[in-house]
Each structure stands twice: as C-alpha cells, then as structure tokens.
C-alpha cells in the first residue's frame, strides 16, 4: 500500500472531483475594511458552501477596531446579506462562521504578532489547519512594510511544522518604479518571491483568461497574430462611472496608476505575449515579462507624442447629467489628475515590429467596455471597381472582454444585387453564450489558486516593476507639467487622443 501522503490523494485523484486545497488559515490584515466585507468573505463563503475549501479551514481577521469574534462574525454576516446576491443558508453560515476569528491589534506593533502566532498555533491544534497560512494584506499600502517586517520577525514568514506561509498583496504595487522596487525589496526581505502573491483581480476574470484560450487553443489566429498581418492594435478599458466617493483616493492615483499600470498592462501582455510552453506560473509570467521588457521606452522629451492625459467635465451619460471631475467630492477644484489616458506604445520584438498598440482607459466614457481590437492590413488589391468597395473596411478582429464577452470579425461580403458591390459585415460570436455557466467571481478564483499554491494568475515582482518602468517617463513628464486636456463626460475622451491616431492616419474604434 502507498504511503500516507499519496493515500490521501487516492479518493480525490481523478478528473471529476474538484481540486480542494490543503488545510489552512487565511489571515486578513485590514479586516474591518471594505474589501473584506464586499469581496473576500463573500468569496470565501461561496467557496466553502460549494465544497471547494478543505474541511480544516479558518479565517482570522486583524484590525485596530475592538471587536469580539461574535461581533466580527455578525458584521460579516450582515455584509454578506448586503453584498452578495442569493440566499445565505443559516446552517452553512454557522458552520463557516465557526471558523472565523478576530484579533484586534495594531499591525505596527510586535505584540499583535505574538498574539497572532499563538492564535494560529491554537487553530492548528483545534481546527487541524496544519501550520499552513496565507496572509492577505488588505490594509492601507502604507502599512505593508510594517506588517511584513513584523510577520518576518515573529517567524510567521514560514509555516508551522513544515506547513506553508504565503503573502498576498493587493495593488497598488508602489506609486512608481522606485517605490515598487522598494516595496518588493521589503517583501522579499522576509518572504521568498515564490511565497508572494500580488493580486490583480482582472486576471481572475474568466473573460480575461479567455484571451489566452482564444489565442492558444485555436490554430487559426496565431499565424496571423503578428506584424505581417496586423496593422495596429487598440486596447480599450472604458468605464461609464465617475470617481464617486473615491475622490480622495483618485486624486492620489489617477487613471494611469489606477487602471493602466495594472489592468491595462496585463491585457497588453496577454494580447502580445508569445505562446507559453505550459500554463504554469513560471512559463506564463516569463512570457508576460518578455513583452514588458520589449516595450520601447517613451523618451521623456517626447511624451506628448505618445501619451494623452484627459479629465472629464460635466456632461451627459446615458440620459443622466453628471458632474465634472473637479466637482466631485474630495477633489481639488483645480485638480489636473487624469481620469483618462491614451498611449501609443511599440513592442520591439520580431512579432510586433512597427505595429503600434494604442491604449486608452478612462472614466465617464459613454459605456463600460473592455476590448482588444486587432486591425489587419487592408487587402493589398481588390479587383472590384473603386466605387463598389466604398463600404469595405479592413478586417478587424475584436476580442471583447466585457460587457458581452465574445469575438467579432469584420469581413467583406458581396451586397446582394446584380453588380459587385462589396461591403463590411460583422460576424459576431458571443462565446459567453455558448457556456452560460455562472463564471466564478474573480476573487473566488484567485483565493482558491492562492490556497492551492498556484501563482499563475498573480503578478511577479519583475512584472510589476516592468510595467512601472514603461510608465515612469510619462508620470515624470506629467508631474513637471501640470496640465490636462478636458473631455465632456459621455464622450470618448479629449480631442488630443483623436489626434494621437490621426497623426498616424488612423482612428479610434467605437467600442
């Protein structure tokens, strides 16, 4: 008979049963915050209810607020009712909540970690969590270094009795290249890079992962996915909402840091990367880093030729009049923070030589849309009379990430009639419709991967830094020149963004 370790796998060692992580504890720093109530606990509850978590599992919340275990559980239960659709089963909640614990404490003080260590040891013996722990930093980023140092000094950067210890870091991963490098150095002082899970929830979205499936599970796209066939690429991440109550945060961040550095750069990587040898953490992340390394640096003196900074003014979005950015709560009335960014980047490698990637991301645009549009070269010669091809545009393959996940290919077809008039038609495939499975929430997916120890969909240190490196010259230039171009809420960005493409004889698509 096999040894005990493989014995445990015998009952689960098959395709039809889901993978369930080893026993363990998730420790959340900043547990009284919004993310814990809105995302983390609902995701963990759903995972537990759907039998995806191990039997021996616990959650420990830490923050400064004084609360008992019971009060913390009650608060989370109320949050669950509020932020999660669908019924909460009383028995399932009771069973899940029995594994939730709260530790009030100042995350800057060593004694908090002494208490934490004791609690974790107790959970190992009482709940069988086997010395495995994941520390989720959902507190203010300014506390990250102190938490990591204290965890390290308390000996918590290693699991107990051969168990594992993992560290989850929420964005932002720094404010620029320098601070990102500093942060990474801090994290790596106590945790090995293989223990660090930088979370960008965008990568947990099924639809984003589908870019990889589309490219690498289909033989027909990859042969034309290069400079021989592609004229240019447009990546759009548009939101119709404004900054809402996040004015103070946004003033510090701006669209470049909030969206472009992480989400948009991830989409760029997935669109442009070479096929990874395998869908595992190192192969996938290595290829993404290669893309970031190949992005041509934007010369600081020429930033205005490559980047546009925009801010929304009062306007109308889908029949509703909305305030301008400077009128939003907690926003400086003379703010030059960008709510819109357009960029032109080149990826200097064999596949993408001379192909511009136009990127735009913004708030208060006419609709919420995330898409990647691959525009192909026009047919080199059409045998039809020129007048007959007026309605014909080059082929465009659009990979839509949201709201309607799918693929659309613009192709030329003959207009019915006796002549030979050709015109473009859109062939739409909503591949989301083919599988109406409820896609798991991004946090569910990522928390499960974290517990399973699979970092493929998390950001590696050099990815985070590579992305800042591309944007650093832009940020430096903007900080020296505090000006911003305006666009009316409900339009597709400032005129300068249109000029960016017009100079190249191209124009933005309407998503």
């Amino acid at each position: 008979m096999a040894d005990t370790q493989s014995l445990q796998n015998i009952l689960r060692d098959e395709q039809r049963l889901p993978r369930v992580p080893e026993p363990g504890v998730v420790v959340i720093f900043g547990a009284s915050g919004d993310l814990t109530a809105r995302k983390l606990v609902p995701a963990l509850y759903d995972l537990a209810a759907q039998r995806r978590l191990p039997l021996e599992f616990a959650v420990v919340g830490i923050s400064r607020t004084e609360m008992s275990n019971e009060e913390f559980r009650g608060k989370l239960r109320r949050a669950l009712e509020e932020h999660r659709s669908g019924e909460v089963s009383g028995d399932v909640w009771e069973s899940f909540a029995g594994g939730i614990f709260y530790l009030p404490g100042d995350s800057k003080k060593a004694e908090t970690y002494k208490g934490l260590k004791e609690l974790l040891k107790r959970l190992d013996s009482e709940r069988g969590t086997q010395g495995n722990r994941a520390f989720y930093l959902s507190s203010s980023p300014s506390l990250f270094p102190a938490i990591v140092e204290n965890l390290g000094e308390a000996g918590l950067s290693e699991g107990e009795d051969g168990g594992w210890s993992r560290l989850v870091v929420e964005k932002p991963f720094g404010r620029d290249l320098e601070s990102a490098q500093e942060l990474n150095a801090e994290l790596q002082r106590y945790f090995d890079e293989t223990q660090i899970y930088r979370i960008d929830h965008y990568l947990g979205k099924e639809t984003v992962q589908n870019i990889l499936a589309l490219r690498f599970a289909n033989g027909i796209f990859e042969p034309v996915w290069n400079q021989h066939y592609v004229d240019h690429v447009q990546i759009t991440v548009a939101e119709d909402i404004g900054v809402g109550t996040r004015g103070a945060f946004y003033e510090e961040a701006g669209a470049l840091r909030d969206i472009v550095q992480n989400h948009v750069m991830q989409v760029l990587c997935l669109t442009a990367m070479e096929p990874p040898v395998a869908f595992d953490a190192e192969s996938v992340r290595e290829e993404k880093v290669k893309v970031l390394r190949a992005v041509r640096p934007i010369p600081e003196g020429e930033v205005e030729d490559y980047a546009v900074r925009g801010q929304y003014e009062r306007g109308w979005v889908f029949g509703e009049e909305v305030p301008g950015y400077r009128e939003e709560e907690n926003v400086d009335p003379e703010s030059v923070t960008e709510t819109y960014v357009a960029l032109k980047v080149f990826i200097d490698n064999y596949r993408w030589a001379r192909v511009p990637f136009y990127i735009r991301a913004g708030k208060r645009l006419p609709k919420k849309a995330t898409e990647v549009a691959i525009q192909f070269h026009a047919s080199p010669h059409t045998p039809f009379a020129r007048d007959d091809t007026k309605g014909l545009a080059p082929n465009v393959l659009v990979v839509r990430v949201q709201p309607e996940e799918g693929l659309s290919l613009k192709i030329g077809a003959k207009v019915p009639g006796t002549g030979f008039e050709v015109s473009s038609v859109n062939m739409d495939l909503l591949y989301g419709t083919a599988f109406l499975e409820e896609a798991p929430d991004a946090y569910q997916r990522l928390l499960l991967d974290l517990m399973l120890g699979d970092p493929t969909l998390f950001i590696r240190a050099d990815e985070a830094e590579g992305s800042w490196k591309i944007l650093d010259p832009v940020m430096r230039h903007w900080s020296q020149k505090p000006e911003v171009s305006f666009y009316q809420a409900g339009t597709w960005g400032p005129e300068e963004a249109d000029d960016l493409l017009e100079r190249d004889g191209r124009e933005w698509r309407r998503p």
């Binding site: 008979m1 014995l7 445990q8 039998r51 089963s89 709201p403 309607e404 083919a434 599988f435």
Partner: protein, 357 residues
Amino acid sequence: MIGESRRAPGGGRMSVGQIERELGKLRTNDDGTLALRSSVLNLIVVTDEESAPEITDSVSKLAGRHPARAVLLISDPEGETNVDVGLSAFCHARGGSGTQVCAEQVTIHAEGPPAMHLESFAGPLLIPDLPVFLWYPGEFSPRSLEFAAMADLADRIIVDSAASESHEACLREIATLVEDPEMPAIGDLQWVGLSPWRSLLADTFGAPERAGDLEKFESAEVLYAPGGENRALLLVGWLASTLGWKPERASRNGEGQKIEFSGTSGDISVVLSPDSPDARLRRIRLYSEEYSFQVSRHRELSDVRTTVMRGDELIAERTVHLGAFDLGVLVGEELRYRGRDETYEGSLRAAVEILDL
C-alpha cells in the same frame, strides 16, 4: 434563466430541408433581425409518450446552460404508422445589446415501424462538428438493434440506472456495455449524483494524520432511499475499487444487506440499509479503529454535514450545500464530461462484483 420559447406552427411529417428552414425562421425576431444560434453539442433524447412532457421541460431548461441542437425522439413502436414533427427554439437576450441567442429543439413523435428506426431521424438532424450525446432518461434495451444503431451516432451515452424496474439487471447491462469496445463512453446519472458525496468524503482525509486511516477501515454504513440502491452500490463500489477492497460475502441484514470485504490490512463489513424516501442517499459513515467519518444529509434541506469523530470527541465538522439534484442538473453535469470515466467504470465493476456474491 429568462428567455422565451418559440414554437413553429404546423407539424406532421416534414423533410430535413423543411425542418432546417423552419428552424431558421424561428430565429427571426419580431423586428426582422436574426437571432444567433448557439450550440456546443447535439443532444438526442429517446423517450416515450408518458415521460415526454417532463423530459421536454428538462431539455428546454438545459438549453440555457448547454445550448444544443436537441432532437427529442418520442417513440411508440406499437402504434399505427405515424410521424409528427414539432419545432421550437429557446431564445434569450444577452447583455445590454439585446442580442437574441437561440437553442433549437426538434421533437419527433414516431409511431409504428418508423419508431424502430429512430437513427434515421436523428442522423440527418445533427449539427456537424459538434459532439453527440445520446440520453435515455427511462428504460432502454442495450441488446436491441435499435440501440446499437443509435449508439453508432453518439460520442457519449447517458443513462439512468435507477429508471429501470430492476436496478440490478440494469447495472449489469451497463457494465456489459462499458466493456464493449465498440460502444462510446457511458455515463450514469446515479454516478453523477454521487460526485458531491465523494468529494466530501475525500475531504475528511485532507489532514495527513488521518490519511493513514484509509487503509484501516473496519466497517461502513450507507443509508439510502428506495430508488437509491444503485447510487449506494456505486458509492461502495467506488470505495472498494479505490481502496483495494475485495468483495467476499453478502448476507441479508434486516431490510438491507451486509457485504464483507477483505482489505489490505483486514476485513471490512459494509451495511447498506434503506431509509426514508426523501433523499436517494441519506448518510455514509466509515469507521476505522480510531475515527469515524460521516457525511450526512439534513432531512429537509439540501445541506449536508460532515463530521470526523475520535470516539465521542468531535475532531472536525462543517455544513455545506449538497447542491441541486434535479434531472436537468444531473444531465448537465454529464454533458460537461467527455471521454471515458475510468473511476466510474472501476466502481461499476466493483458494484457488479458485489451483486455477483
């Protein structure tokens, strides 16, 4: 799922060309635009007049999650020769654009001799390049020529070993089919219904210190409802085939049955007992020298409680959702699966060995 059912008028006998044309018309929206057709598979269902309404309902519910060209064949070989074709589509709007997406269903009532040649209806109506699932919700005759002809069309056959009058005979028939190299892969809804139970049981051995108990079981108890015999047998078959138990003896035990196995480190006795009829499986309990492991369904809820005890001491416990178990869910699970399920086949063989005792 919110959507609309569209039905073509008419009926009677139709040609393949007419059927395809009418299905195309069904996808035409009121404003003249054409709804998309979405399909990931072909689903052929063979049923009888009596079960047809319930099955039709399940098939249209499946359309949301597993958009398919569904061909529902209602067979009555005893009647006068008659063929009647009904067409419908299940359409729903996607996202904000209002784009309609439809899944199609062709229902054919075949009476008299045409009912003996259902493959001649199904074959031409399949969408090319998509896998073909053949589902028998009720009794089926695996030895008949009709069955062989239908199986020839399919990539996977879905049956329900509990739908037969004799659950034992049915399990044996399926085991014979599984051994036939000419047959496509076979799935049994009674096996699908076990997945959460198996997963929960596996969870109780997630802690390394308890994994060793997998080879130290001394006894087990399974409570099942009437109609759940095969589910219980397959569960025990799974344990036996996975853990290397060899069936040795069977005896009656009150209303139920006691089966004795020899294992690598001793004998194991398993008692299967019928219980109240409201859940096909009510409880499984495994005993080792030190621990007892239990997965038990709440009487009125779809929740299930797992416990691990050492004597009277509760070591671990939790309550989770067992999930829904209606026909649509079970079939939907089968439609997700492609290829042979070797764990199922091993469990089925072990279950038949138990029956042979």
